[in-house]
């Protein structure tokens, strides 16, 4: 059972006064008080967990964000930042005694600067919105989460999101140049800018992926890239999962870094095909999409090389995209894999561990065994090139024993990832979902040092508490040179 920090009764008792104070800062419709309207914010993409926030605030200027945080800081009120609410680890799950700070009104692109190959934008702009703003001029923003039409760039920074093209072009952290950040006491700071690398400590690097625990991002500068001259995709089918996994390793070992390299297993292939009719072969056990992008001449050479490797690895199906439209169709199935699986099961849970690539065949085999053990079905999609797995566990939340089994199955998969030398999450973040598994990967000292960083930003623990760290220590305790116990007790959070 997932537990969250106990609501502060004294804050709840002052609710009306707090709402009034917030209205004075953010006038009009920017403060949402009515229960039915707050309901829209009760969960993010991890919808198995819900909590009505005390109040929702939708600021539209940095001054308002600063004033709201300063007020909450003084009044010791907890704050949960939220972008588009597509997060899959519960990072934007509200708190019963907390202000939910929605960044949706920060929806403008501020500047496109081709001379410096960057875009300055507000954080509520969608990931795809950035690419759309520069696409006509032949540019794009590289990290492309499957949720890119909906997720916000601010959320991407908080989660350090990835996408199918991260193998070659990096995660969010490798593509962000600067942010404006508001600290919990209302201080506004700038980190980075249009230049490369920080001058002092790399605060920008540590903000990225900090899941809304260190500050609220109010402006973002990202790097944009010229679109590759050519991109072509190969669809490769294999008679076994192992053969597909071996092919991935062989391509990398040959010194080829594809623009994207994705893999699906049979259940995922069938679900995707039924949903978007991508023309996937249905009689293979694993399907690889290998996209080669870059200068045309190089792409042609690499395609020939990859085809050869695939043949050696026993591919029984091979098709090359011959038009942009066909390439888009290859991807359509993969990008729609989550909703496609959603159609074949009442509920599904998406795991996100990363493993060393060479462990792919072993881990896939083990996941199959675990599925049998937990009596649940699983469909696998992966960012195979970087070893990032997305096993989708199928279950029915209306059957309590299935939800419990799915959670146990998920935890087993993540522990397995750590055991073979991998990590709990490759791109979706820890949030509440993997919070209690952090101890499988980090020692108490490791976690204590991470929490000390939090103390430098937010010593009262008011920003997004209850996320990422299994046990909340007080900063005073962490600061002592000998640290011992003393966990803040958590009561239970009801689960829906």
């Amino acid at each position: 059972m997932l537990t969250m920090p106990a609501p502060d009764e004294s804050v709840l008792a002052r609710r009306a006064e707090i709402v009034a104070a917030l209205r004075a800062i953010v006038p009009g419709e920017g403060v949402i008080d009515a229960e039915e309207e707050r309901r829209a914010y009760e969960c993010d993409g991890l919808s198995a967990y819900r909590q009505l926030p005390m109040v929702v605030v939708l600021p539209s200027t940095v001054e308002q964000v600063s004033a709201v945080l300063r007020y909450c800081h003084r009044q010791k009120i907890r704050v949960v930042p939220r972008g588009a609410g597509t997060g899959l680890s519960g990072g934007a799950l509200p708190l019963a005694d907390g202000v939910l700070l929605g960044m949706g009104k920060f929806n403008r692109i501020l500047e496109v600067d081709y001379a410096n190959r960057c875009v300055v934008t507000q954080p509520g702009v969608t990931n795809l919105g950035i690419t759309n703003a520069v696409s006509a001029d032949g540019f794009y923003y590289a990290p492309d989460p499957s949720s890119q039409i909906a997720c916000s760039i601010g959320g991407n920074i908080a989660e350090n999101s990835g996408g199918v093209h991260c193998l070659k072009y990096g995660l969010t952290t490798n593509n962000v140049l600067g942010v404006q950040l508001v600290l919990i006491d209302g201080t506004v700071i700038r980190l980075g800018g249009k230049h490369l690398d920080a001058g002092g400590y790399d605060m920008l690097g540590v903000i990225t992926g900090s899941e809304g625990l260190l500050g609220v991002v109010t402006e973002v500068t990202v790097r944009i890239l010229r679109k590759p001259a050519t991109a072509r995709a190969l669809l490769l089918g294999f008679p076994t999962l192992e053969a597909g996994g071996d092919c991935v390793a062989a391509i990398i070992a040959a010194g080829i870094i594809p623009g994207g390299m994705e893999m699906m297993d049979k259940p995922a292939i069938h679900a995707a095909e039924a949903f978007v009719h991508a023309d996937y072969p249905l009689d293979v056990e694993s399907l690889l999409i290998v996209e080669l992008d870059g200068p045309a001449i190089e792409v042609d050479e690499l395609i020939a090389a990859v085809k050869e490797i695939a043949t050696q690895c026993g591919a029984v199906y091979s098709r090359l995209s011959n038009s942009e439209e066909e390439r888009a169709r290859f991807w359509a199935g993969r990008k729609a894999a989550f909703p496609a699986v959603g159609r074949i099961s009442p509920d599904y849970m998406c795991m996100d561990g990363t493993i060393p690539r060479k462990q792919l065949p072993f881990v896939l085999g083990r996941i199959g065994e675990l599925a049998t053990k937990h009596k649940l079905r699983v469909a696998n999609v992966f960012h195979a090139g970087d070893g990032n797995l997305h096993p989708l566990i199928l279950f029915d939340a209306n059957k309590p024993e299935e939800l419990a089994a799915a959670e146990a199955f998920g935890a087993d998969i993540l522990r397995l990832c750590v055991e073979v030398g991998g990590v709990l999450t490759g791109e979706h973040g820890v949030g509440i979902e993997k919070r209690d598994l952090m101890g499988a990967m980090f020692s108490e000292d490791d976690l204590a040092q991470q929490q000390r960083l939090k103390c430098a930003f937010d010593p009262d623990g008011l920003l997004n508490p209850g996320k990422v760290f299994p046990v909340l220590h007080r900063c005073a305790e962490l600061g002592r040179m000998v640290v011992r116990g003393g966990a803040v007790p958590f009561p239970n959070l009801p689960r829906f």
Partner: protein, 403 residues
């Protein structure tokens, strides 16, 4: 002379730092000392020498990941990778020559100073390739951060903070880095006789083209004449260099295409792999092109389009890298060695930072070596330092006076 402590294992390192922390005895944290002249002078009770922590702990080329003890010589790592046709994507500069040594330093040192060579514009800096670490904080505690796989968002990315912290937060014991296949061939397109402003605009055109340029630098005549590459030394004028890497046919074809696209702007020439490699090594290491040992050397990062304005505002020898975004300046070490003018030009450029990379010791002690952060960021940085090293025993004053 201060004592030198040279731990040979993680436990010894932890015990050493913990003992120092207990006595609040300061430590100068050092790899091989190759970049000791970089940053503010450290006055510490003892030297913590990490060069006894050596050896590659795991390297599987097909995983594109390497783990080594932090004190392993960079040259050793690079040679091992080269054997397997791989490289460190951030092209770490070998700055030894700037300080009169042939030593390229340690892997940990390259990470701790977050340096990157010309390929920064395409593949990122040390921070972008730094996947995981085992370190000992100034509290004398061992902590692990990051992981050993290329994609990981589990917990805060403390590695980013350690990269570029110059040993002021923790002593690195083990680092895991991402490695990449080395391109088979490279070519460099040269354009002759351009002024800095024209050069910056040409470099932007090249970087905005689909030809995947992996290096864009400008050598004014005074730097070009020092190159060991004949074409450049004998040019008698300034040179823009644009690097194209890949398979043999790809690099050749793209170089031709790029030359064709730019040839109406200046006289063009091509360098093949051998000369191209030599040239980019010179640009990466700087010293060969700015060799006057009496000068102060600054490293300045600004928005690329501002590169020409900065060199116009500061009278100095210079080269431009990163399409104009990285400026190496050789100034007269008198007075503030140009600090005020350089920092004013950065503000005019809309942001960036300047670091005094080499200067006589009294000068480095007298003026801010790193870009002074604005007050709120300085306060935050001090709080972060406090959380890693509450007794301020690690490299006191190396980055900022009194820190």
């Amino acid at each position: 002379m201060s004592d030198t402590l040279r731990p040979r294992s993680l436990d010894e390192l932890r015990d050493t730092v913990a003992a120092a922390a207990a006595d609040a005895a300061t430590l100068e944290v050092m790899g091989s000392g190759s970049k000791r002249g970089f940053g503010r002078p450290v006055q510490a009770a003892r030297v913590l020498d990490l060069s006894g922590l050596t050896g590659v702990r795991s390297y599987e080329p097909a995983e594109l990941v390497l783990t080594a003890a932090a004190g392993t010589p960079l040259a050793e790592i690079e040679a091992l990778l080269a054997e397997k046709g791989q490289m460190l994507g951030f092209e770490p500069p070998h700055l030894g020559a700037l300080y009169g040594t042939a030593d390229a330093g340690t892997l940990g040192g390259a990470i701790a100073s977050n340096l990157a060579g010309p390929r920064r514009i395409k593949l990122g800096a040390a921070r972008d390739h730094f996947l995981g670490a085992v370190s000992v904080s100034g509290r004398g505690e061992i902590f692990k951060s990051g992981g050993k796989v290329v994609k990981n968002v589990t917990g805060y990315d403390l590695c980013k903070l350690l990269a570029g912290s110059f040993g002021t937060l923790a002593a690195l014991e083990e680092v895991t880095v991402k490695v990449l296949p080395a391109p088979a061939k490279q070519r460099t397109a040269l354009l002759f006789g351009l002024e800095p402003a024209e050069a910056v605009s040409v470099m932007a055109q090249a970087l905005n083209s689909p030809h995947e340029v992996s290096g864009a630098a400008y050598l004014p005549p005074a730097a070009a004449v020092r190159s060991s590459v004949d074409y450049i030394r004998r040019a008698g004028t300034s040179v823009v260099a644009l690097r194209l890497e890949g398979t043999p046919r790809s690099s050749e074809t793209r170089c031709k295409a790029l030359c064709g696209q730019l040839s109406h702007l200046a006289a063009v020439e091509e360098l093949h792999t051998m000369n191209s490699t030599k040239l980019w090594r010179e640009i990466r290491d700087v010293a060969p092109l700015l060799p006057d040992a009496s000068k102060a050397i600054w490293r300045v990062s600004v928005p690329p389009s501002a590169g020409a304005a900065v060199v116009a505002a500061v009278p100095a020898g210079f080269i431009l890298d990163w399409g104009g975004g990285l400026i190496w300046l050789a100034t007269d070490p008198a007075g503030d060695a140009g600090a005020a003018a350089i920092r004013a030009s950065i503000r005019a450029a809309g942001g960036g930072h300047a670091t005094l990379v080499r200067a006589p010791l009294p000068l480095r002690a007298a003026i801010p070596v790193f870009e002074p952060p604005e007050a709120a960021l300085a306060a935050l940085s001090a709080r972060v330092k406090e959380q890693f090293d509450p007794r301020r025993i690690l490299n006191p004053g190396r980055m900022y006076a009194g820190s």
